[in-house]
């Protein structure tokens, strides 16, 4: 990518790394939470449901602030994570991945939940009569049948993760090469005198990535639907 200067291509590759980590780590959690929310009945379920969806309605700055409170070096979990596992989140790309994961979590859950609710419970009953226990049924029937939703959720969350700004800059700041993702680089370029051309390039890049993501997700969904015979 010769038309990008080194700082800009660093921002691009960092964005991809952060988004990929965010999706990889939140995917299994999202599957579990989706299952809990739509299949089990427990006290406090509406509260968990609301908490999961909170990032949709909160200003991203608030999410970033809460992450600082919880995962900061003197935070509730941050100090413990650092001491026990040497995991540092503040000012690191893993922290950026956490912030984007929290922000895109509700999008992921929504896509998965629709597809889980569309899974015919009758097929799970059929699997039961064929001798499949609960975990067996989940992995061999439920999970493959909700695959379209899982893929859609993953792609949407990845695209959203590429664009997350407020929570990232609040939680992990704007450090070149470590936490300066595409939107942060774009913001920085706009703040810099003579950065107009760089800003235009980064904006074009963001639009291109977004388009690519949407087209890819549509193509994947079509393929999977054909595989599932719908």
């Amino acid at each position: 990518m010769t038309w990008l200067d080194p700082a800009e291509s660093a921002a691009l590759s960092l964005s991809l790394v952060v988004a990929a980590r965010s999706v990889i780590f939140s995917l299994p959690v999202a599957v579990a939470v989706t299952w809990l929310l739509s299949r089990s009945r427990f006290v406090g379920r509406p509260l968990v449901d609301a908490l999961v969806h909170l990032p949709l309605v909160l200003p991203p700055v608030v999410v970033g602030y809460l992450l600082l409170v919880i995962f900061g070096s003197r935070g509730l979990l941050g100090g413990w994570l650092s001491r026990m596992f040497g995991i540092e989140l503040v000012f690191t790309r893993n922290g950026a991945a956490l912030a984007t994961a929290v922000m895109s979590f509700p999008l992921m859950i929504r896509a998965m939940r629709i597809s889980l609710e569309n899974v015919d419970r009758g097929l799970e009953d059929a699997a039961r009569t064929l001798g499949a226990g609960a975990l067996d049924r989940f992995t061999t029937i439920t999970l493959p049948l909700m695959l379209p939703g899982i893929l859609a959720g993953a792609v949407t969350a990845f695209a959203a993760a590429l664009g997350e700004f407020g929570a990232v800059i609040t939680f992990v700041s704007n450090i070149p090469g470590e936490t300066r993702t595409l939107p942060l680089a774009l913001y920085t370029a706009l703040q810099t005198p003579g950065g107009d051309r760089a800003a235009a390039r980064l904006a074009t890049l963001s639009i291109g990535l977004g388009l690519l993501g949407l087209l890819l997700s549509e193509w994947l969904a079509r393929r999977v639907r054909r595989l599932l015979g719908r």
């Binding site: 015919d120 009758g122 097929l123 009953d125 059929a126 699997a127 039961r128 009569t129 064929l130 001798g131 499949a132 226990g133 067996d136 061999t140 029937i141 493959p144 049948l145 695959l147 595989l227 599932l228 015979g229 719908r230």
Partner: protein
Amino acid sequence: MLTVEAAKRRGSFSLDVRFETPVPGVVALFGRSGCGKSTVVNLMAGLLRPESGRMTLDGTVLFDAAAGIDVPAERRCFGYVFQDARLFPHLRVDSNLRYALRRAAAPHFVTLEAVVELLDLGGLMRRRTHELSGGERQRVAIARALLTQPRLLLLDEPLANLDRARREEVLPYLEILRDELRVPMVYVTHDFEEVLRLATHVVLIDAGAVIAQGAIGPMSLNASLRRIIGPDAVGAIVTGTALGVDPVTHLMRVRVGAGELNVRCAELGAGASLRVQLLARDIIVSTELPRHLSVRNNLAGTVAGIQDDDEEAELVAIDVGGEQILARVTKAASRDLGLKTGLAVWALIKSVSIRVHLVGARA
């Protein structure tokens, strides 16, 4: 022996059934739509839990509310063929079959190859399930249920979604299951035609309760059953033995009770066991041996009883030497003939109106 006792309430509907039937055999749970038949098989499969009751198969307790026994559905070793097949859409036909085979816990009595051959699935194995026709789907569903090596096969209206022609495509396979694999079956249906073809026993269900039960022969005379199937389907179902084809008439001679019938049917070895349906509306009663008639069959017997059928007609039960048959006659005719219990009569039936089905192993 299969024994079932189960009670369950669902909203305003309450179910309380109790029946027992010999195993192997095909017991038909028969009744109008919405009478609770499907609920009964779901309770038997373990997909629903009765509030009270007890269920055993050949001495194994599968459910006993009082003793706190409830074997989970996945460990009951029952095959289940659903009305809508429920094939897994993300797996091809062969993977659907292997899914069942891999999880079969009971001792294996059929192999994948045998089932594929039995149900003619050879050409379908690599197909996706949505590429199958309705009849093919049900054949795959039956094969899949068989591969669980079931101790009991539950079938919930497996032919209800198929048209007449597709049903004829699947029914022979179910007869083979009954006669050759001798798989015990519980067969839910509201179509008496399927009962006639498949059932050895009938459990009659109405409004969530068993109102009659027994072997198909005696049940065909049952008044409650008659009310459900309607006047045109009423008729005795008796057991006959093939005696061989008459060289002159080319009709099959069949022994029924103490008499003999000539029927049209495919050539069978002598000695084959047949199920013969004699519709009450097709039987003519005579008080003397008739002559100069085109009717090929007359069975000598005595009147065993007379019941009112409707305003104008009555049903005459005739004992023809060990078997009872029913004839519908108008009250006027009955009066003119002076029909009464114990009277010697002849029952006349046209060969073309007799229906026969083979039961038991193919010759």
